[in-house]
Symmetry: C3
Subunit: 351 residues, 3 copies
């Protein structure tokens, strides 16, 4: 059961070829994306005739031709040619998905096309900004996307899962974050004063003294994280960011199926000029950490699969993820969908 | 749900060893085939004692001995020895399948043995004929055999799937075939006048001018295609076949399970003497084309599996496959089996 | 459906690291085993918080710390630390399994901990005895453990499956064993007079004349075989064991899941001093034979999976396995579990 009245990231812009077809499954639905003179088009990747994937055919002008029997569809999903057939039946069409390109992310709208609202696109500005520099990342996960949402909604795991990479000290787990409700998400603010700089900070400049770190992020439906983070020497005056590390991360989880997930991510650093070495080091470091997450979450997922009814004990650090799951439930209900993903969650005790 | 009162191809003759056991699953039933002094024998490949496969044992004379506890079965399936047991229970037997060898194809009868009727064997003459030359082929498919039947019942796909191999021009898709009912199949006749010779024709002789091509085949239950095809220069008088390419193809689909299929095939060329180079070239070309089919059909099958209830839109080129599926349904009903494989098919519109 | 009020072998002692975590699944339950100053501890390998496997964390002193959010559990399964949380909820605990180490086998008790009874541990003395020498073995099986029990309860298969390794002559299949009931198992006694020595006997000493062989074993719930076997020249007086080969084998089947099984085994030979060459040769020979078994039983399992309702014909050699399955059923009933594993078994006919 997925939220449908949402924009889902289906690809990085550079993944869509100039003159070919790109295919990816979103919410269990195979979708083919291609470029037309008007921009991007996204269609159901399943010919209405014999159900072959259109992506096994080819792009012809602004159309897609099925590789099985040659049916041709335009960017609206209407069949415009059937070899050997003069009169094209009105039913010969495939579903069209509204598509949007914003800051290098390609989004598809999975709900009613008439309700596709550009105002609901997340502000992933640092994916395409002259003063924010990054490398784009993609990972595939063979787990339910909700387990990855949980992970992103509770950074206390940094102290353990990423002890040797992102994390650093146990103080992160100890710093209880502030949590605020947003109309379509949760805002999490965590400030960690006076801790050792994490190893990868040394890639920006030398840090010999403790730093104050911050992590402030919005986690928005259907699974987008937008985070400002950074750190600066604790000894510097609060208003002085001259020796700070300033980062902005955009991450998007898109369910491929109920049990597999696409993960788009980047972490941009701020600077007048791009330092390609730093951009690559941050990317490598992020990828290493995300592999640590994936290993843990896959292990967790296997344990859950072996006994799906095992109860979870809600703890204070779960406050954000519980709030988020309840928000998703309210939105599912509003869409007329009934699964209550938070049904088994209890209130976290006061920490 | 499969037709049972049919001969199914289980193997090419040369696949059965002279002094060993051959095993293959047909309609979900494991079958062991071996040679006796009287000819071929086919038994249930499952010992009646502890259900070990007999094919994991060995041939002893005209019998099979189970490799687990030594029970021995004769060619009729009767247990003739149980080590350490003097009195063999009457229930100690495995199922026997009527078996027939015709023109190098080994057939098993999957229905009531008393109704096994040699008159129902298909005329696969070119598999073993002094003036028809071929190489025998076998492929395994991990899809429902019906999707492959569909493919063979609509050659309009040649223009797209085999554009660069068998197919050639879009005219094939445009040439609407004649379709006739047969008692146990469909006859499809397609004539394509004045088209460029397909690339592989050049292997017979040089073709610089347009050719008239023909494809005339019977597609018979439970999935056997027998096709005369060929082409000759359009400029030659109709009765002159001296510069013609004449081919005969025998192809048989045998369901291994509901979702996997055995595919036996050859395409023979006519000639007084075998030209081994041509025979090999045709075989290679056919195999390349059949791999193209398999790739497309597997892609189609994956799309269907992801949403089994997606509707198919019937088009004029589907006339033969719709007729065939309805014939199969009538025969299933006659056998007392109820699944209606054509239930979701509508009549094709007039093309 | 498994017996729970039993000790199950989970590991050889040497598999548990001195300062780390060992994980294995028993009866579908993931279990983490580790060493404390008091001995061995076995806990549910599933954190009570977010269900991550504890074995993905680390050992800290006599405790385990979860690698996801840092919860720490002592050897009784009680949570003793939650980073950032002062008051630990009473519900924060994981299941503890009683654990026992006996003669190098590590056992876990899968039933009610209060009923864990050391008197029910099997007498696997030859796993750790100065006059019995062996190499420890482990195999993984992707079949229901009951098929392996069946195999071990009917040695008539030695003549066929192990014809060229352990087995030797068909006389083994012909020698009907004595079968006795034990409170928690079956005793099988088979004497095979005057047969050729099996090939591997030559590794002890030269055998030119026929031998009398014996196989006397207890097969105990939940799947432990303890066997005395051997052979001596038939020409020697009965009381003279000076030229005998004397072996003791301990084998334990532990269901991993309903369809996969752990197999722990050894076959020790008697002697004042260890002859390492002989110990290794016996181990290699045993392993080769057990691979033969596994190949046959996997083939059998695949045939059964393809048609789970195929009936089995009970024969005289099945007497022990039928008795054993009925014993298991009585014990399951006594535990309040209802599956009748012998329901489809009929009485064996008189042999």
């Amino acid at each position: 059961m997925f939220l449908r009245q949402c924009w889902y990231v289906i690809a990085w812009d550079h993944e869509i070829p100039d003159d070919g077809l790109f295919s990816r499954t979103v919410l269990g639905e195979p979708i083919v994306v291609f470029r037309t003179r008007q921009g991007l088009a996204a269609l159901e990747d399943r010919c209405c005739h014999r159900l072959a994937p259109l992506s096994a055919g080819r792009k012809e002008g602004d159309c897609v031709r099925c590789g099985y029997h040659g049916l041709t569809f335009d960017a609206t999903g209407r069949c415009v040619a059937i070899p050997g057939v003069e009169r094209i039946p009105a039913a010969a069409r495939v579903r069209r998905y509204p598509v949007a390109l914003r800051n290098r992310w390609v989004f598809v709208w999975m709900g009613d096309p008439d309700q596709a609202d550009p105002a609901l696109l997340p502000d992933n500005f640092s994916c395409d900004h002259p003063q924010w520099h990054h490398r784009p990342g993609y990972m595939h996960y063979d787990v339910d996307h909700r387990l990855i949402c949980d992970n992103l909604l509770d950074f206390s795991h940094l102290s353990w899962v990423h002890e040797k990479t992102l994390g650093g000290s146990p103080q992160i787990a100890l710093a209880r974050p502030e949590i605020e409700s947003l109309p379509r998400g949760i805002r999490v603010t965590r400030r960690v004063p006076s801790v050792p700089a994490p190893p990868y900070y040394q890639r920006f400049r030398r840090f010999d003294t403790p730093v104050d770190r911050w992590f402030i992020y919005d986690f928005l439906v259907p699974g987008v994280l937008l985070m400002h983070s950074g750190g600066r020497p604790s000894e510097d005056p609060p208003e002085d960011l001259s020796r700070a590390v300033r980062l902005h991360s955009c991450q998007a989880l898109t369910p491929e199926t109920a049990t597999t997930t696409h993960y788009f991510f980047q972490q941009a650093h701020h600077g007048e000029q791009e330092d390609t070495t730093v951009a690559e080091l941050i990317f490598d470091s992020l990828k290493a950490a995300f592999h640590e997450d994936r290993e843990m979450i896959r292990a967790q997922s296997r344990v859950i699969a072996a006994r799906p009814d095992a109860p979870m004990l809600t703890l204070p650090m779960d406050a954000a993820l519980v709030q988020y799951r309840r928000l998703v439930d309210r939105l599912l209900t509003r869409e007329g969908l009934s699964e209550q993903t938070s049904a088994r969650l209890t209130d976290p005790p006061g920490g």
